[in-house]
Symmetry: C2
Subunit: 604 residues, 2 copies
């Protein structure tokens, strides 16, 4: 039953040898790796307007210059990253580039920043997707959190099936969204040309805050959420069909052109329509309603927006587990994150990402605006480290045009460093502080995990180790009565060695029944009765075992054979094995004591 559900959800298992087949053509790779970046068109303009609106309706006109600055930044990033792809055809995520060229600490910093960013991408995208749904159907607003969790569950299932199927699944929403946006921008432009009408916005409370440089910088910082996800393609180069680097670069450029056009277009239309951000409806929903009316085109736009946003989380589900497995391979995260599941996806990483992102959706009540201030710091920090690493790379390589290449990446590094600082400062009190503190904490965690694994390796090393024979080996069987389970344990114990002793802890005062039973059934195995004036079963046993260990010297072992009841129903566990459990817990911390459970299966 469980196996069939698994098969239906995840598909038939794939062998390790099947890996090379899960490679993506460009048209499939574009939605898989770009849905995050492209989908930010749905909320980035709104985030700019939300900052500007505190200075009144007139300030909203500044959204266009701010938006154009962000498009300029996009051009710099795409140029920089196409160089990264060229230099790292095997996949040049910020973690690898920074580790390679700048050292372990910058590498881990980039890794921590990216892991945080991937988690936030999932939360922000899902929350924005839900906002697109609730804009069209306001009655669903109270169910924001539940809708978000359902969306995450769907994306997880798709990803556990493996990346190729994901690509297929996500192509329609991405291309559908691009088409809707192009139609929306084109149609609006046409109407503006023909009608020439600009609606004046309705501003009930005209605010009086002045337009300061700080305000514009905050608007810019919020708008930079449009650029998150641009690096995804450079991390995923090995997933492309050969020639990987060339295909990845072309896909990156397509993505940059599409993203730049859509973002600039929507920001321009919002300005022309003089849209004012509202709590109840997204800016994009307002634009679509204004352009198409509340008809089939409007609902198509909202549907594709919701779909691409919810599925944009997929970018992170492709990249987070991959990065986690790289960190785990290098010993900075638990090793089980390198494990690929039935369908060759990194299952543990996928599930870990879903858990954290789901918790964030619940904690922030599924609201995009609350999550945005946490969002872009990590991305731009990793951009900076990655581009800085590239400068070093070109000089070390001794490439013919290394100066030119370094200049491009240097421009990228400087610009993104400046943007990181702007975001961290202008958004600090709104939540960016959390990320600023979390990154060093994660780096510390990575380092401690690595140190632990290193110490274990040293402790396990056979260098200079010589085999010492185990000498005396005593076997103890604690019994609570004379019955089939204990006799089975004693019989098994006698297979282990000649020196077997049964031990009974007498906490009730009368041991005649046990002694008589043992005389009949003990079959010559000596029985030791320990008295327990304080009614504890565990303490007298521990004292007895410690005494045996002390007798035996350094090469001696004590094996404790415990009859263990295996109940056939879960709640029967509450009725058995309480003393055995306590004893096992206490013995866990004694060296040279080995615990053997002899199972006895109980009836229904």
């Amino acid at each position: 039953m469980r196996g069939r559900l698994r098969l239906w959800l995840l598909g038939t298992p794939l062998t390790s040898a099947a890996e090379r087949h899960t490679r993506l053509p460009k048209l499939v790779a574009l939605p898989v790796f770009s849905s995050d970046a492209l989908s930010s068109v749905a909320y980035a303009t709104e985030e700019i307007l939300l900052v500007l609106v505190v200075a009144g309706a007139a300030a909203l006109a500044w959204s266009l210059p701010v938006g154009l600055a962000i498009v300029g930044l996009l051009v710099i990033l795409v140029t920089s990253y196409s160089q990264t792809i060229q230099a790292y055809p095997t996949g040049g995520g910020a973690y690898i580039v920074a580790s390679d060229n700048l050292g372990v600490l910058p590498g881990l910093t980039a890794g921590a920043a990216l892991l945080i960013d991937y988690v936030l991408t999932v939360s922000v995208s899902v929350a924005a997707g839900v906002a697109a749904i609730t804009s069209a159907f306001p009655a669903l607003d109270p169910h924001r959190e539940a809708l978000g969790l359902v969306a995450i569950a769907l994306v997880v299932t798709a990803n556990l099936r493996g990346i190729r199927e994901s690509g297929r699944l996500f192509a329609i929403p991405t291309y559908g969204f691009i088409a809707c946006m192009l139609i929306l921008i084109g149609w609006s432009a046409l109407r503006l040309l023909v009608d020439g009408v600009v609606h004046t916005p309705h501003m009930p409370h005209e605010a009086t805050n002045p337009i300061t440089l700080f305000l514009l910088m905050r608007a810019f910082a919020s708008g930079c959420s449009a650029l998150t996800g641009v690096e995804a393609i450079s991390n995923g180069v090995p997933a492309f069909q050969p020639p990987e680097a060339r295909n990845a670069r072309l896909t990156l450029i397509w993505m940059g052109v599409i993203l730049g056009s859509l973002f600039a277009g929507i920001t321009w239309i919002a300005d022309q329509y003089a849209i004012v951000p509202s709590e109840d409806e997204t800016v994009l929903s307002q634009i679509a309603r204004r352009a198409f009316g509340t008809g089939p085109f409007y609902y198509a736009t909202q549907t594709f927006t919701a779909l691409i946003l919810i599925l944009a989380a997929n970018t992170s589900f492709a990249d987070f587990p991959r990065l986690a497995s790289l960190l785990a391979r290098d010993g900075f995260l638990p090793r089980q994150l390198t494990h690929r599941g039935d369908r060759l996806a990194f299952s543990n990483g996928i599930l870990a990402l879903a858990a954290v992102a789901g918790a964030l959706v619940v904690a922030f009540e599924g609201q995009v605006n609350a999550l945005i201030p946490l969002y872009a710091v990590g991305v731009f920090l990793s951009f900076t480290l990655s581009q800085a690493g590239m400068i070093r790379h070109w000089y070390r390589e001794g490439h013919p045009h290394s100066g030119w290449h370094a200049l491009i990446n240097g421009t990228g590094a400087l610009t993104t460093a400046l943007v990181t600082a702007i975001i961290a400062v202008t958004k600090f009190t709104e939540g960016a502080w959390l990320v600023v503190f979390l990154i060093p904490l994660l780096v510390l965690g990575f380092w401690r995990i690595r140190r632990h694994y290193d110490q274990v390796t040293r402790n396990l090393s056979l260098e200079g180790w010589t085999r010492t024979p185990m000498r005396s080996h005593r076997v103890v069987v604690p019994i609570g009565g004379v019955h089939r389970a204990t006799l089975r344990a004693v019989d098994y114990a006698r297979q282990l060695g000649p020196d077997v002793t049964a031990v009974y802890v007498n906490s009730e005062g009368d041991d005649t029944r046990i002694l008589a039973g043992w005389a009949q059934w003990g079959d010559g195995v000596p029985l030791v009765v320990l008295t327990s004036p304080f009614r504890s079963i565990v303490h007298p046993l521990l004292d007895y075992i410690d005494g045996l260990l002390a007798q035996q010297g350094p090469e001696g072992f004590v094996t404790v054979v415990l009859p263990e009841f295996i109940p056939s129903r879960w709640w029967h566990h509450l009725l058995h094995n309480q003393s055995a459990l306590l004893l096992k817990g206490a013995l866990l911390f004694r060296r040279d004591v080995i615990v053997v459970d002899v199972p006895f299966h109980l009836p229904n």
Copy 2:
């Protein structure tokens, strides 16, 4: 450190032989077993008034006749129960009396009703005690739940120390409360005689509901919460100093006289002062404020009221674990409930009671009125079963005055059966339905636990059992690499038997390092390499072990020796043993497979 904290909280451990010394003189037994019954004076009058007030201020005059009916019921109960003590000097709780005389099902029904009642006694008493505090200090009202939980924690600690210390601790609040109530009643009576003034109550919204018989019955049902706890002494007879039965009967009569006088007195004063129940202040607090003004006497009354109420929970903490241990001894509850702790108290029962009662305090937001409808059904059902059992008892005994004795208990049984029906019907929709459904569910649970234990006993029985020698015994050591931990496990395995095989699951494609390592260090133990095309570690091992089992026939065993890492810090567990854990979980359900953990202690 942990040991010293335990010692300071609980005192030095007591040996089982010390048990006979923890017996109570009458003056100590009275507060221990009567604080529940006596403390209900603090809320029972209020519960009557709360029902009557819906029919308007004039209806409040009915509180006096209702209160007197309840005092009459008290006389019947005390007479009945003093006969129970005489007949059951070793402790005659409803469970024992009903089981003895009416059979298992009535016995279990009484047991279930009492267990529920004990839990509710704790919740109601604690909530009422907190209400006494918040009446005096309204600023504390938002912290009701926290105050309730702290109170429960204090009572638990006192009880884990053992019952004699509890008796000492609880004497002062109980006697202090009795003194306060007598002064309050006496002083108010004097003022009423001298002044003759009756204050007219302030009724902002005069209600128009008529005074119906159903309303009076509901008021009576609510007031019956005054009688809960009357049976406590008859359950605890063995805790009295010898002659146990005589001392217990005298204590019961004292308690009846005190409870009856205080309850009647407070109800009379409330009527004379024309007190109207309020959400913000308890009736008792209003009376005390009216009588003494908000001065030292008022605060003393509130303090002692709060103390006796919170400590009234102690009656349940003495009786719940005792009843649970009786049920556990008979196989109807998990056996660990019969275990006495360091100080001879039934620790597991005490902790279970605290957990459930604490959950109720939180669930009902620490409000008495919400809990009262659940309260009295269980008590009066157990009263009825116990008294009905006593009728049977007298006839079976062939006692000289059996007819007379049976008449007394018969009156008790009939009266309490009628009251049970009144409470269940009038309070059904307000919460009594929960208890009405919970009692059969608990009885079913008892019965299933007993059936399980009976089946286990049959399965463990040695009757007709003959020893069959264990024949072939193979030892398997799954290894993940060649290092100290695995070699230690292999060395240990060779002690267990001659037929040892190491097994490696190859999920990565390249096994040359393992093979080379084994050639150097394997010391002649054969190594089997299993290939795992789907990357699972566990499935190939399970298949291999199943194959060995199939080869060996019915008397064969397979021992799986697992090298287990014992980390020195809790979070290191996340970094190790993942595959071992999965394997152990899967092997748990295979008969004839025994798992041996060979611990390898890891550094810090």
